[in-house]
């Protein structure tokens, strides 16, 4: 259990927030930040560890969100069950897109563009298909019972999303310490060399994409239950693809805590920007853009990278800084 010590400590600390404050503003802010951390962790597994930069994680987020909402509204399926099906559906979409992309050897920007294209196709389909409510979207009926995955206060939602983030942190930590994780990082660093060592690079990438999609889909399922409304622009829109990659890149790609750190920092910056400018629409995106440029230019390993450099400088000034497993591309 020692390897989960830091994860458990962070989750335990965060779980006390609703006991300290019942402010809806604070809880709402943290729920959204944790949601982005969850979605970002999905991206991080494939992008940060596997080096496959996706611009279309909306495809998985949206599939989770729509599956949860549509199954409840149209088929009367229990919300918790719908949540599980939503995660599975997201994983399936990930496996399909992955199988097609990796089968044809798409890498780098080609892979990014193809994932973006798939997400856009799904967005367009969802905006016209009757099953998804087309342009109107799907509204989940208010039904404030825990059995329906709806709660009177925000605290239970907060604990649920925190629990999901905790699970995703531990999952990535387990992968980091496994043969699959070692193969995934080897694929990121050099695919030809990995193949020469017996790594089936196609299967490794496909596995990472499927797990990545499942994590991100869980975020989509949660979104649907929390906001009780889904439409094509929300579910499959580029905004969530951007959030999914922004959090880990700013927090530190290929690190366990990068997406969580990044999500908290980005969301905090966004809130301050709104306060300072009186809610000018789109300004948070401008802020994101600036922060992203800064991070890529100054600290390509993100906040986690800066923290680990600082720690090595303070703790071990004599020894050379060891490279972490999850070092990103420079």
């Amino acid at each position: 259990m020692r390897r989960f010590a830091s994860t458990l400590a962070v989750v335990a600390l965060l779980s006390t927030v609703p006991l300290i404050t019942s402010s809806n503003v604070v809880l709402n802010f943290l729920v959204v930040a944790l949601l982005i951390a969850l979605v970002g962790q999905g991206w991080n597994l494939l992008g940060g560890y596997g080096g496959q930069y996706s611009f279309g994680h909306a495809a998985f987020f949206g599939t989770g969100a729509y599956a949860t909402a549509v199954l409840q509204v149209r088929y009367g399926i229990n919300a918790w069950l719908g949540f599980g099906i939503g995660i599975a559906a997201g994983a399936l979409v990930g496996a399909l897109i992955g199988a097609l992309s990796f089968r044809y050897g798409l890498k780098g920007s080609y892979f990014a563009l193809v994932t973006l294209a798939f997400a856009e196709v799904l967005r367009i389909i969802a905006s016209v298909a009757p099953a998804t409510g087309a342009g109107v979207g799907t509204l989940i009926k208010l039904d404030l019972r825990p059995e329906a995955f709806q709660f009177q206060s925000r605290a239970p939602f907060y604990w649920i999303v925190l629990g999901l983030v905790g699970v995703s942190l531990m999952l990535v930590r387990i992968i980091e310490d496994s043969r699959f994780g070692a193969y995934l990082v080897a694929v990121r660093e050099n695919e030809d060399a990995a193949e020469a060592l017996g790594v089936n690079t196609t299967i490794v990438k496909l596995g990472a994409m499927t797990i990545s999609a499942a994590i991100t889909a869980a975020g989509g399922c949660f979104y649907a239950q929390y906001f009780l409304f889904v439409d094509a622009g929300i579910a499959y829109g580029p905004w969530i693809s951007v959030e999914a990659l922004l959090a880990p890149i700013i927090g530190g790609v290929g690190t366990v805590f990068g997406p969580l750190l990044g999500a908290l920092v980005v969301k905090t910056l966004g809130e301050f920007a709104k306060l300072a400018t009186g809610d000018a629409p789109g300004l948070d995106l401008v802020i994101y853009g600036c922060v992203l440029i800064l991070v890529v230019a100054v600290a390509p390993r993100g906040i986690a990278g800066i923290l680990s450099d600082l720690r090595h400088r303070v703790l071990a000034p004599k020894t050379a800084a060891p490279a972490s497993l999850g070092r990103g591309h420079g």
Binding site: D177, S178, R179, A182, A193, A196, L197, G198, V199, R327
Partner: protein, 250 residues
Amino acid sequence: MVEALLRVEQVSKRFGGLLALDRASFAAEPSRITALIGPNGAGKTTLFSIIAGYLPLSAGRIVYDGASIAGERPYRLARRGIARTFQIAQPFMGLTVRENIAVGAHLSRPARADALVAAGDIAREIGLGDLLDRPAATLTVAGRKRLELARALAIGPRLLLLDEVLAGLNPSEIRDMVPVIRAIRDRGVTIVMIEHVMQAVMSLAERVFVLSEGRVIADGPPEAIVADPLVVEAYLGRGAAGRMMGTGHA
């Protein structure tokens, strides 16, 4: 005669209008070092890439351990026991030396801890013991060449394809590496090496094949090869052998 572990039979490779390999054949006997030499552009690395599954062949057959392997993907060949090094070292830059070797060691060791321990053992054997926790990106050329070798060994190969592991090393580094390669052979690993450093070829190889313009023009023990006029001319141009041996007309 012993049954060869690897037999390359009449392999041709065409890149558009260029015939890079023209019915090239050679065989590697088990637990022996076979060298593949030839001038630049002769097709040696192309042949290695075909054997290791990185390039499809245009014609011919490759038989390994009694089975035809042409067309199989590199990772499957690695699992059958064929390891290769790259002419230009391809380390996993962001990983440490130990983590690099562990990727290979994982092939037969699913547990992370086992693979890391095995990686340490192999590193010490290859002379990288002091650099285990250094990032691969900080290694010198000589260090990277050793890492290539260590990583390839970590999969526990029966056949090891070495693509110029000595190129770029200084004479003392070459002297250090020769016994390392010999020790690998002595453990029963079959080695095929592409090499330009003739001093090493002479002292290591039991049999040499000479490739020139995609064809195998000579083969035999190293002493016979260096005296072969065809080989000398392949390197130095037509008539060179005659001039050097003083028998031709100047």
